[in-house]
Symmetry: C2
Subunit: 209 residues, 2 copies
């Protein structure tokens, strides 16, 4: 069975909202209420969940704890993921210092850079290694996910290296669109593109859209 990518994108949102509901001590939630929290229609939520099973009770809704457990299992949030960071410039250091990853099970276990003045330095408990050693260090399954925070010019070769090491998921902060083989997933974090997509609407006038 093939699940639309849009569905996959929403599952973590559901999990996050359910985590909040759990923290609020709620036992049960309806697709309606979940939808209001996330700006998603209730029909959409039920349809999405129906790809994976029947988790609700008619007339009642979903058990918060149970649905949260199911979603964590489906999305793969019930384990630790090891990440390798490439590029320890200004942006890379901010990523290393970000406290939001580890509570969600994402841990940066290696950091690489090409700048000799950075190599060997310790940042947040991690020693920066030369990017030339990336494949040597990582190809024994050292990381599940790659984070690329290099200049655009080097992103493709870095990603090629990561892919050769079996990395099949890449979070790309570089302003570039590298090619990857089938089965490798890339997500782009690009605030400038996000801003530019919005300026189109700002420029166009006050109307919605």
């Amino acid at each position: 069975m093939d699940i639309p990518e849009g569905v996959i994108d929403r599952l973590p949102k559901y999990a996050r909202a359910l985590g909040q509901l759990e923290a609020e001590g709620r036992d049960v939630v309806s697709s309606q209420e979940l939808g209001v929290r996330l700006n998603i229609t209730h029909a959409q939520i039920r349809k999405d969940l129906s790809y994976f099973g029947r988790f609700g009770k008619q007339g009642r809704g979903y058990n918060v704890q149970m649905l949260l457990d199911e979603l964590r299992r489906i999305v793969g949030l019930n384990r630790q993921w090891k990440m390798a960071l490439v590029g320890v410039g200004r942006l890379g250091r901010a990523i290393l210092g970000y406290e939001g990853f580890s509570p969600q099970g994402f841990r940066i276990v290696a950091a690489f850079d090409s700048d000799p003045s950075l190599i060997g330095t310790r940042i947040n408990g991690l020693t920066v290694k030369p990017v030339a050693d990336l494949e040597k260090e990582l190809c024994d399954g050292g990381a599940d996910i790659g984070i690329v925070a290099t200049p655009a010019e080097t992103a493709q070769s870095v990603i090629d290296s990561l892919v050769r090491c079996g990395v099949r998921a890449i979070l790309n902060y570089a302003p570039a669109f590298p090619n990857v083989p089938d089965g490798v997933h890339v997500r782009h974090i690009d605030p400038v593109l996000a801003l530019q997509a919005m300026t189109y609407h700002l420029k166009a006038g006050a109307g919605p859209g």
Copy 2:
């Protein structure tokens, strides 16, 4: 005429690629070649551009400089945009220090926080102001775009304030999905959600998808 959002998202990518081609000294480019650079089909590119006009020459392709100018005009990249940052914690300071905005015409002109120990301090040439003064400071058209880097709990109220000041575009780094009126555009930067959407595929096995 109503333009699909996916088209709007791709226009800045075209502009970026054309900027690179220009820097490489290229005069002409085909939809085919542009597509290879961006992992977008040539039919898609031609269709996207056709929403706005006829910019190419059959048998030849697109004039790089001319198409770049047109796209900049369409997307609104040919002017300066003023942004207000709310939340000057660890993440907010990284955003203030990011060098990628100003070359693209995006300038942070104000920074707000609720932490008394931050208020009044200068960061990157900007004095941090109390978030309580946001509407007073901004409602005279002080900013076109809001950047929200607060905790999830305060994101909604901050965004409400920004919207009351006429801000119609928000770049949201907070892990929250606030409600905004029609005509206000929100883009979410959420690396954890991006990672979680990928772990679904990692967990599922080695196949593509």
